[in-house]
């Protein structure tokens, strides 16, 4: 037994050695047949025979297969460590060492042989013990084990057994050696074994394939291609006419599909590269015609069978499909249809199925289809238009994909999360398709709109909103906007209320493209309103529901016109909450004034904004408290904000309070306080000039009587400018001229007038304006009534009267408003306190300057004239007394004081209450009947006397008022109030 124990070789061939080998053969046969368990001695003999006796090789392999089978039989997957004996482990170790040595030294001969044996043995063992090799807790009685449990778990179980581990290792070793020489043969044998023992053999192929993914995948692909091409002749495989080759019915191809699919899971890159290489090599010029024809159909059918292969085929395909490749495919296409895709549309259906079965690179591929398909469709400008077969095919495929997607989306009800992979991936790469929506190419526009509509239905309303939002933010032409009319109807019926949600989102966002958005919305609502558009959505109702958000955009100058136009079309909601009315009013007034003072704005836009804001404010007057709020804001803005500067007023407020747009801004603190402080400072300086420095602080009354009144002759904007007025915070250094100020005042007054009329009851409107005016100018509640008190009472209200006068003086628009009210009797009655305040100040002034000359106080003269005229127009006093305004120049201060006191007394006796006015039945005008001249003669005597004394200057007036009128009265009749009134107004 020297040979057997030592394991030496028979090289000399001496007779003793020859006898020895025969003896070993006998011992081996005896041992192998009798000793069924592994025996180390017999194993050693077997290994020696393997080396020295070629004819015993099959028997030796059979012997070891038996040992391995017994080891697998004894193996318990749940306790792998306890199933093998040390002797068995040593036997396997020795076998592995020996076989590895042979394979290493002579791979071309030993590798195929050992590989075949190991794979056959593995196949037999996997089939025989497949049911046993289940992960713990997963074994199910009566279930096909090859299918149960994951492949990875089964691989783990099998590799836990020393026997199968040895076999798979030695197989891998053989394959690695064979790959260079006869890879096709070894892969073929692997596949054949796989076919024989499918599906139990899957784990073997999976494990071996993972060791050499590149080679295995390449070879398997080529092997499958050969089989596929050979089948096309119909010699080996009979297929139905007009049908595809059914890969599942061809064992070898089915095996190819299973193996590649499995390898594709972990080695997608390799599979992708192999498939692409095969594809590219098939379309090269030097490829043989059969492969040229068969490769693409083969790859397509593989991809159709397995999503992993579809993923590998499609990944990076866009880079491969260059124009040259596409041209080549165009030429090969006819052959495919002739040989493989004989059934009509079968190629189209296959491609569609592949595209929809995976999410790999689908967006890019669909984009390629769109771009290529779009090349054949001319743009409106005549670009493109080369409609090749490739373009047609791309369009056809894309449309078929769309149709199939449509069926999938609208077909069976899907649970959330379970989706069409292609749609999922498009959703993740949506930006490029959104851009296509704005393409000039109609095919691209329509196709992408349809595709995105399907994605939207699949993904939900948020995506729909995203698409519509994109369109509204980016469309710049009507043509582009028409895409919306294509897209919206497709999704709107499924995603209820998306338009209001979209509008809400956009208006809340801080996107700087809001101008485009509003411009597009305007176009849509205009079309919607015209009832002549394709868009039948709910933009108008949506905008109406988000009116408050829309109104906020009024404060952005660049958006104001669009928003106003939209609001005008949409209309103001009829039932708004007070807070909303308040905010809307605020926004409108703010916009109105900011536009009014903006001289740089395009005049057309400016006029339009002013017009539309007025119209919308008029609409707001129908709301409860609408008019009051509007009047209040307008008055506040005209008087207490920086806008007052532009109206010729001296601002006392901060224009920022309006600009910031904060609702319900309270009126600024009483303006008198600020002015008083400034005036006090000024007076302090004046006193210093006369060297009469007060030794102790003087009270305000002292200051007033030291000549403060009239000291603010410049008033208005000059005062603001001196004080660094807040007006400059709006428009820098404010420069306005008196004419402009007057024009603006007229504008504001006109708006106020029309708003008062817009509320339905005109008188009520004026009344509200009057009351607002009083409330704003004289917010005190004491002594604010209509009746005039005793003259002596002036002392009590002097400070307030000064304040009223100063406010009126500072804000010329108030005079305009008072004039307006005076003309619309009896509205001025409600402003009695304001008139009284001014009159009181005038009386006090002329009383204190009785010894002076009238001409020294032009401002006071003007004020006195103005208040008397106002009282005349408003019919607070008869025309005779109102005449004072025209003849004031003949009076000296003392006379004027006396006459003013007469007027005061008249007013005290004849309260200018609304009830003292009546309506003329003939003309419908409101007027006050003062009665006969004798009724108010006592109050006119001093005037008459003064005029008489200066008859040469005022003869004509004296004649009209004190001669003609009295004469007429004596002749029988009262004075026609209108005649005198017109004269006083200067209209006669």
């Amino acid at each position: 037994m020297t040979m057997s124990e030592g394991g030496g070789g028979l090289t000399s061939g001496s007779p003793s050695e020859k006898q020895d080998i025969m003896l070993q053969l006998r011992l081996f046969v005896e041992g192998a047949t009798k000793d069924k368990l592994g025996n180390l001695r017999v194993s050693n003999i077997a290994l020696n025979l393997l080396k020295n006796l070629p004819s015993a090789r099959d028997a030796v392999f059979e012997y070891y297969a038996g040992i391995l089978e017994r080891i697998v039989n004894n193996y318990n997957p749940e306790s792998p460590d306890s199933s093998t004996t040390p002797e068995e482990e040593e036997i396997i170790s020795e076998v592995q060492e020996t076989l590895s040595g042979y394979i290493e030294s002579n791979p071309s001969s030993w590798a195929p042989m050992v590989s075949k044996w190991s794979l056959d043995t593995l196949g037999r063992l996997t089939q025989q013990y497949g049911s046993k090799m289940m992960p713990k807790g997963k074994s199910e009685k009566g279930k096909v084990v090859g299918v149960a449990g994951s492949l990875h778990e089964r691989v783990s179980c099998w590799l836990g057994c020393i026997a199968s581990r040895f076999l798979i290792q030695i197989s891998a070793e053989c394959l690695s050696k064979q790959m260079d020489d006869d890879s096709e043969g070894c892969i073929s044998s692997l596949l054949e074994t796989s076919v024989t023992h499918a599906p139990y053999f899957d784990w073997v192929v999976a494990h071996l394939g993972s060791c050499f993914p590149s080679t295995i995948i390449n070879r398997i692909l080529i092997l499958g291609l050969k089989e596929y091409v050979s089948l096309s002749s119909g010699m080996k495989y009979k297929r139905e006419p007009d049908s595809l080759i059914n890969l599942q019915k061809v064992p070898k191809l089915n095996s190819v599909v299973n193996i590649l699919s499995h390898l594709g899971r972990n080695h997608q890159d390799v599979l992708q590269e192999s498939m692409h290489n095969l594809f590219l090599s098939s379309i090269s010029d030097d490829s043989n015609s059969t492969h040229q024809t068969g490769t693409v159909p083969y790859l397509l059918q593989l991809a159709e069978e397995s999503s992993h292969m579809a993923r590998a085929l499609l990944a990076g395909l866009v880079d491969v499909l260059t124009p040259q490749v596409l041209d080549r495919l165009e030429t090969l296409h006819g052959n495919w249809k002739q040989v493989y895709f004989t059934k009509e549309n079968s190629l189209l259906e296959t491609v569609t199925h592949i595209l929809l079965s995976t999410d790999s690179d689908i967006p890019e591929i669909l984009l390629l289809l769109l771009e290529k398909g779009g090349e054949g469709v001319a743009t409106p400008r005549g670009e493109g238009g080369r409609d090749s077969d490739t373009s047609k095919a791309c369009r056809m495929i894309f449309n078929h994909v769309l149709a199939t997607m449509f069926q999938q989306v609208h077909g069976s009800s899907r649970h959330r999360g379970e989706g069409v992979p292609a749609l999922q991936s498009i959703h993740a790469n949506v930006s490029v398709y959104l851009d296509l929506l704005l393409s000039r190419n109609r095919f691209l526009r329509c196709s992408s709109a349809q595709l995105l509509a399907l994605v939207a239905l699949h993904k939900g309303r948020a995506f729909s909103i995203q698409v519509v939002r994109y369109l509204l933010y980016n469309c710049s032409t009507d043509t582009e906007l028409l895409v919306l009319s294509d897209f919206l109807p497709r999704v709107e019926i499924f995603h209820y209320n998306i338009v209001p949600d979209l509008i809400s989102q956009c208006l809340r966002s801080r996107d700087d493209r809001i101008k485009t958005f509003l411009s597009n919305v305007l176009r849509i609502v205009t079309a919607e309103n015209s009832k002549n558009s394709d868009i039948r959505s709910s933009f108008i109702s949506g905008l109406r529901s988000e009116q408050m958000l829309l109104a906020e955009r009024l404060l952005q100058p660049e958006n104001a016109l669009n928003v106003l136009t939209i609001l005008r079309i949409v209309g103001i909601n009829t039932k708004l909450r007070i807070s909303h009315v308040h905010r809307l009013c605020h926004c409108f007034v703010q916009l109105y004034f900011s536009t009014l003072i903006d001289k740089e704005m395009d005049s057309y836009d400016r006029d339009k904004i002013l017009h539309l804001s007025e119209l919308l404010m008029s609409e707001l007057c129908d709301q409860r408290f609408g008019l009051q709020i509007l009047l209040r804001f307008l008055l506040e803005a005209s008087v207490n904000s920086a806008y007052s500067v532009y109206l010729g007023g001296g601002t006392k407020g901060d224009v920022n309070s309006m600009v910031t747009g904060k609702p319900a801004n309270p009126p600024n603190p009483p303006s008198s306080t600020n002015i008083k402080k400034a005036d006090t400072a000024k007076l302090f300086r004046e006193n210093l000039k006369f060297g009469s420095m007060p030794v102790q602080p003087l009270g305000s009354s002292t200051v007033f009587h030291a000549g403060i009144i009239g000291g603010r002759g410049g008033g208005g904007k000059n005062a603001v400018a001196r004080r660094g007025g807040v007006g400059t915070t709006v428009a820098g250094e404010v420069e306005t001229c008196a004419e402009t100020e007057m024009e603006l005042r007229e504008h504001v007054t006109g708006v106020l007038l029309r708003l008062c009329r817009a509320c339905g009851d005109e008188d009520e409107g004026y009344k509200k304006l009057a009351l607002q005016l009083v409330e704003m100018v004289s917010p005190d509640i004491m002594y604010n009534g209509i009746p005039w008190p005793e003259e002596e009472f002036i002392k009590v209200t002097m400070e307030r009267d000064l304040d009223i006068t100063r406010t009126l003086e500072s804000n010329p628009i108030l005079w305009n408003l008072l004039d307006l009210l005076a003309r619309h009797k009896p509205a001025l009655s409600y402003c009695s306190v304001l008139v009284r305040g001014v009159m009181s100040v005038c009386i006090s002034h002329w009383q204190s300057t009785a010894a002076s000359r009238l001409a020294n106080y032009p401002a006071q003269i003007s004020l006195t004239q103005r208040v008397i005229t106002l009282m005349g127009v408003g019919q607070f006093i008869p025309g005779h007394l109102a005449l004072v305004a025209q003849v004031i120049h003949i009076l000296d201060p003392a006379q004027l004081n006396c006459i003013l006191v007469d007027m005061w007394n008249y007013m005290r006796s004849n309260v200018p209450g609304p009830s003292s006015y009546s309506v003329c039945h003939e003309t419908g005008q409101v007027y006050r009947n003062f009665g006969t001249y004798s009724d108010f003669k006592p109050y006119c005597d001093r005037l008459r006397m003064v005029m008489l004394a200066n008859l040469e200057k005022v003869a004509d007036l004296f004649k009209i008022y004190f001669v003609d009128s009295v004469k007429k009265e004596h002749l029988g009749g009262t004075i026609q109030p209108t005649v005198l009134q017109n004269h006083v107004n200067g209209t006669s």
């Binding site: 061939g13 070629p54 004819s55 090789r57 002579n106």
Partner: protein
Amino acid sequence: MESLGPLMRKFDFPQSVCEALKIIHIQCEKMSLNPSSALSQELSQITDFVDEFVFGNHQSKAKKLNYLEQLQVIQALIDHFDSDEGEFSLLCSVFMVVFLAKGKDVEYKMDTLSKLISLNLGQGHNTMLNCVALWWSQQPPNSKHCNQLARSLVHEYMILVPDIATLLKCTPQQSPLLAGILLIHFGDLYKVSSENTNPVFKAPPLPLVKLSTTWLMEQKDLCGAQGKSECQNVVSMLGKSPIPALIVWSVLAPLVTQEDNDLDYSRLHLSLLLHITQANVDASFPVGFL
């Protein structure tokens, strides 16, 4: 022989094989003694007997013998031919009958023969080798089975385990006819292929070149290198010489192989030149060949 069936089934394997061979031996002896009997009918019966009791599993006819059992059959055959029972011609008859290329599973029979030859070439059983040579000489020209046998021997001794090729060095001494036959078939295995338009030549494995050189150099009678010999050589037996095919090796093989084996091919060339001198040309080639 049908009557022997029940008796034979009483034996266990591989004893049944030994007994069957004895019966075949007796039958062959009977046939040689009685040449007038119906040879074809008896041969058919013996073939069936061989298929059932030598190469078949008589316990279960559907089941083939496995490789271990095949090895046991080979052992039984060697034992029978080594037992010195009977003369060589009778043993030859037994061999011919056992490996007659007819019957149920000829392929299995040929596989067993291949292993038997392989084993005996290495172990040098003269009787068996000569029986093989005679069996081989009886096969038709270009026999598929003969080619398979030759290919199998080359694969096992020259390719798979080239170290043991030296075991075959003595074959010409043990059976010059078999050595000559093998040289002819080896030459046929590696010849210029004329199947394609472009002739293809695949070089033989180097151990085979060396073995052929050794055989030709050490056994000059193999192809009549020493003039007319009394030794029965393959040229006269088969009417075919291995020389032409081996000359192709010596010329083409160095051109198609990348390894530097020029010395080995030179030696082969020399050995061949020795066989085709004017003096021994008649012995090296069949009459009228040149």
